[in-house]
């Protein structure tokens, strides 16, 4: 009853948006049917394995640590209208710099060496983000292309490092030596892989929230993103904002990288980023660029990822479906935006 009352009051844009989304959802069901599976069964596995059983929740939490940190970085940049797509590269360079510093740090007492290790990762990410920031501020280079090119360069650099200067002493596999125990983030709960990185991520959330909601810098970011001309008029220099926010955004991605290495893998190895870069963007968008919602969105996407892994293992539906769903979620976010805009009008 109620829907028939609501629908006619929607304007044309909202109806088109909902129609596109509906067709998309049907297409998604069609894809699952194409793989010869029942959508209901897939949904049951996806939710059951990703969100509802103990092991699934633990795995989802493990994955949401780097996603939260990287997602916070994306939030900062996007708030300023700076599209940092370079999370992956910043994360890799952060992790690589920290692992390179590990031999110098490990003789120090743990209370000192672990924070310094995290700092090194943060710095590495900041430098990599800063390069794109410099190119944008100084030459007006489009940051989307710049950060993506830097991603590919970072992937090749790490590929070389783990076969060259940073390769394990035995020289067998393309990976670094394991970090000393004093440089590992401790495991929080026995029997899980959940590390103290969870605390780092929670602290980062509070810090970014404070920066965004309570500081002048955060205000400058938002104004620049919403109305660059007004910002310039108000004495905010867009170049300075672009450079600084890409450094900060990269710093958080770099922190995500070293937390992932120190808390989970213990060493630098190929492919440990596992699609975190692009998912972090979806996380930030779904959180509507609000730092408080980032961990929630990160947990949601992590559960989706863990659940999709089970789906691929247990059924005929291939794993890349997860990216189709992520893309649909981004489009759904846009539809939501159109609906709220229509309401405000």
């Amino acid at each position: 009853m109620k829907s028939s009352l609501v629908l006619p009051s929607l304007d044309r844009d909202s109806r088109v948006a909902l129609l596109v989304l509906g067709i998309g959802a049907l297409a998604l069901l069609g894809l699952i049917a194409l793989a010869g599976e029942s959508p209901l069964r897939i949904l049951a596995i996806l939710i059951g394995e990703g969100f509802l059983n103990r092991a699934g929740i633990a795995d989802s939490l493990v994955r949401s640590i780097p996603l939260t940190l990287a997602g916070l970085g994306v939030v900062l940049a996007f708030r300023a209208g700076v599209f940092n797509i370079g999370v992956e590269g910043q994360l890799l360079i952060g992790a690589a710099l920290a692992v390179a510093c590990a031999p110098i740090l490990s003789p120090l007492p743990s209370a000192l060496s672990l924070p310094l290790l995290l700092l090194a990762g943060t710095l590495g990410g900041a430098v990599w983000g800063g390069i794109a920031g410099f190119l944008k501020a100084r030459f007006g280079a489009n940051e989307i292309i710049a950060t993506i090119m830097l991603n590919y360069i970072a992937i090749q650099m790490v590929s070389w490092l783990i076969r060259g200067p940073l390769q394990e002493a035995s020289g067998i596999f393309p990976r670094s030596d394991k970090l000393a125990n004093s440089l590992r983030l401790p495991i929080l709960f026995d029997g899980t892989r959940l590390s103290a990185g969870l605390i780092v991520a929670a602290l980062a959330c509070v810090a970014v929230w404070f920066l965004v909601a309570r500081s002048r810098y955060g205000y400058a970011l938002t104004v620049t993103g919403k109305n660059p001309d007004a910002a310039r008029y108000g004495g905010i220099r867009p170049g300075v904002i672009a450079f600084s926010v890409l450094c900060l955004s990269g710093a958080l991605a770099g922190l995500a990288g070293i937390v992932e290495v120190s808390g989970l893998h213990g060493r630098l190895q190929e492919g440990f980023v596992g699609g975190i870069g692009i998912t972090a963007i979806a996380v930030a968008l779904l959180a509507r660029l609000n730092p408080i919602w980032v961990p929630v969105a990160a947990f949601g996407f992590s559960g989706l990822y863990v659940g999709s892994d089970s789906v691929a293992r247990l059924t005929e539906v291939p794993f890349p479906l997860v990216h189709v769903i992520e893309g649909m979620i981004v489009l759904a976010f846009l539809v939501l935006q159109i609906l709220t805009m229509a309401k405000e009008r």
Binding site: R138, F139, Y152, Q156, R163, P318, P320, G327, L331, I338
Partner: protein, 306 residues
Amino acid sequence: MDLMFLTGLLASGVRFAIPLLFAALGETIGQKSGVLNVGLEGIMLVGAFLAVAFSVATGSPWGGLLAAILGGAALGLLHGLFAVRLKVDQIVSGLALILLGLGLSGFGYRLVFAGQPSMRVPGFDRLDLGVLSDLPLLGPLLFSHHALAYLGILLAVGLWWIMTRTGLGLTIRAVGENPKAADSAGIDVDKVRMLCTIFGGAMAGIGGAYLSTAQLAGFVEDMVAGRGFIAIACVVFARWNPLGVLAVALIFGIADAAQIRLQPFFPQVPYQFFVTLPYVLALVALAGAARSSNLPAALTQPYRKS
């Protein structure tokens, strides 16, 4: 390094340039009309996959090409619906395309080809122009490419002519420069932008198809490897001029071919440094050419009638 090496390098540079050329030409037209599509990478992936799947299914690379064009146009239409019709953030809509392309191509590939041992993909054959193709040096360089390569070059010239010399080109440029004035002149701004965006999608689809059925023979997940983004860098570096796009795509193609062919000459340098060459080049190009007066004034700005 002798003459043979050089012609070999240039000829393979042309082959590497063609996928970039198609995607960048389409993006040029889209951007000229005021629509930025950062999702080329995703569209090229879908094009590459569809081309292989339908080449195998129909037994002809042209069947694959048609499927890639239709798939690319469909994704272009989706981008147009959100970016032009619904006027949301063009960049976010483009990001969704990247994810969708990555997912759809990977999903389709594992579904259709999983577990199959290497199969023969009916790819495009090199054109045999008889005497011309057998010419020493010039033959391999100019007269022995795939039909699509010549089509791409013709398109570059044709699009340049359309954009600079015809009323249609003027309409597209007006919509991207000053949509309000275009609207007053009776031009349907959204319709022009929509068509240009669909065209851009179809062209990116062709770029992907060339990659998987002419340059290589088969599909590998994530095989586009950033070429969609390099294509956007090409557009910027060429200052939105189709003939410039042809030149810049050739530079990138030759750089790509060079990094592969130079590796054996410098065994002491890690190969990863060579692989980064095109990406570094794109960064330098971006920094050098970003502030250009040719930038369409209304790029990324949706047009609302007031």
